[in-house]
Subunit: 342 residues, 2 copies
């Protein structure tokens, strides 16, 4: 009869999700919890996903391997962490002078972004779903103010992933230091500067106490996207309903994370400034030199990595078209509002 | 036993959704179709929602009454259409010099926006879910270029809803004309100007042929949100799973609509400019006078409408805080990118 068929279609499932983040990053780590809760609600409690912080099952660098091998069914991460395997991973997350948050979502949902990235991730037995964005990040905390491009020479700068390649080209020395060790390294002067995320996360780590200059914008992360990675074999065992549940719960968490950052950063910024943080725009020559080196880097990668070239060509066209449009009504509306006493 | 309980929990349901829009507005009308398709997939085909264009069941102005009375279970609309019932409806959608798209979503999801608006909509037996945003709209099509605030005096301007109140204060004569009649009215000079949405929708209606000056920004619609309205009694009959299905499918459609506009506007803008549309920023004095009159209007409404005051006080605080934050890294990143040759 019909009843057993329904029971089969709604089988109880328990999966594991490894996050690339510590619990302290409650907005980013929290997105996986939001996702898991929504999956549970949508399935009437039958599809349960346990969320594990970085290191509980596998450390962050091992996340792609763990999903690929089926050690876990799912991971939630910033794909650019894995650019060492292939630079193309960065295009699913953020590259210097890339898309902003809305543009990235538009490229993924409605442009060719999701299609192209899924083609690429298939090589790792992975299917991806956009699941969160931080918005444009800050440029980080600098013991000495950066007054020109020459100040980057020799600068020991803790910076995430792919951006280090551009910092190197500008004479800087990118440092790879886990979040928990940055404060002490900055305090002691072992490093000269460190970027993390933006006001909401940075406030908790207290960098303003040891490096007052808070530069912006984080030109290497204009709209970094987090992805839900799922092992394709595990995914293929799901019913159409459960596949839909994953897609919609991930979409909810995607929008919810950006909303959390947008709602929480303003107050955190006030507190940071009230505590002595000095907001300083990167000088024009730093922006221009960084842009030039980034574009040169992308040409070099395109010449030797066909995976990258295929995705980047589409990404770059979307970026060019999108910025022409955003320059008019969006930018004019925003800049007017930002100039008012509200 | 267990099986009948599952069958009950997953009962077959057929609901009707009336859209406030014609099918020709495929991105806005389409959001209700995206929502309906996702609800169907998430429920394994058991929860079916038929989508009806404006006028099929009820015309747009009757949508709130139809949902309130249970004539239909659901409606999808721009809440500011109903400001005649109470100005507070506009705060759930867009007011002149209000929140942009990301800010509106942040206020709804993570600020007090959704909570406060739901309290208000309860007076109409309605529960709301954010379901789409167009992003900042264009200022519309003008037969003569607007060179200063005096050019607004006597201007017969087809403009949607609540914004007309500000246009009136500036000496303009807001016109309420359905989409299908705008072109002829503009061509004949019965009206001097008309705003619709943005490049993607405007291109289809061909206004550039009869009024070349395409002004921006649409300061009265910096990030208008569409809402899914559901009759609360109908909603209360749903199982927790079906409630979750509505929430998540609406969230998907919410993000998907903004992505569609962001991905499609750039090419439409190119085509419009290629066809002779002249992009013209509103002069500074128009922006400033409009801002001043808008703020004066909000003070007046606050003095006499406690529903408005309660929501607007929260909205205005969120707007002030948010613009301080967006002014730094987001604006600096975007303006740099928009100035590059990409």
């Amino acid at each position: 009869g019909a009843a057993p068929a329904i029971v089969q279609a709604q089988a109880n499932i328990r999966w594991r999700l490894t996050s690339a983040f510590p619990k302290a990053l409650d907005t980013i780590y929290g997105a996986a919890e939001v996702f898991s809760r929504h999956v549970k609600e949508l399935s009437g409690g039958k599809f349960e996903i346990s969320v594990h912080a970085a290191g509980e099952i596998v450390p962050t660098p091992g996340l792609v391997d763990a999903v690929q091998n089926g050690t876990v069914e799912m991971g939630h991460t910033a794909p650019y962490y894995y650019f060492g395997k292939d630079e193309t991973f960065a295009l699913g997350c953020a590259i210097p002078f890339g898309l902003n948050s809305r543009q990235m979502t538009a490229w993924q949902y409605e442009g060719n972004g999701l299609k192209l990235m899924r083609e690429f991730y298939k090589n790792y037995n992975i299917i991806s779903f956009p699941m969160g964005n931080t918005g444009a990040q800050m440029g980080g905390w600098f013991r000495k103010e950066i007054k020109g491009v020459n100040d980057l020479k020799g600068l020991k700068f803790r910076v995430g992933g792919f951006a280090g390649k551009v910092i190197e080209r500008l004479g800087g020395v990118p440092q790879n230091i886990p979040g928990g060790e940055i404060y002490t390294a900055l305090e002691k002067g072992t490093i000269d500067a460190a970027e993390w995320v933006g006001p909401y996360d940075d406030l908790k780590l207290g960098f303003y106490k040891v490096a007052k200059n808070y530069h912006y914008p984080g030109w290497w992360e204009g709209g970094p996207q987090l992805d839900l990675f799922i092992n394709t074999k595990a995914y293929d065992t799901l019913t159409p309903e459960y596949k839909a549940i994953i897609e919609n719960a991930a979409a909810y968490a995607h929008t919810d994370m950006q909303a959390k950052y947008d709602a929480r950063n303003p107050n955190a910024l006030k507190q940071l400034v009230g505590s002595g943080a000095k907001l300083v725009a990167f000088p024009k020559d730093v922006m221009e030199a960084s842009f030039k080196e980034s574009m040169a880097l992308y040409s070099e990668i395109s010449a030797k990595n066909p995976n990258w070239k295929k995705v980047y060509d589409d990404y770059a066209k979307f970026r060019a078209d999108s910025n022409v449009w955003f320059r008019f009504t969006e930018a004019r509306f925003d800049s007017f509002m930002q100039a008012q006493k509200l």
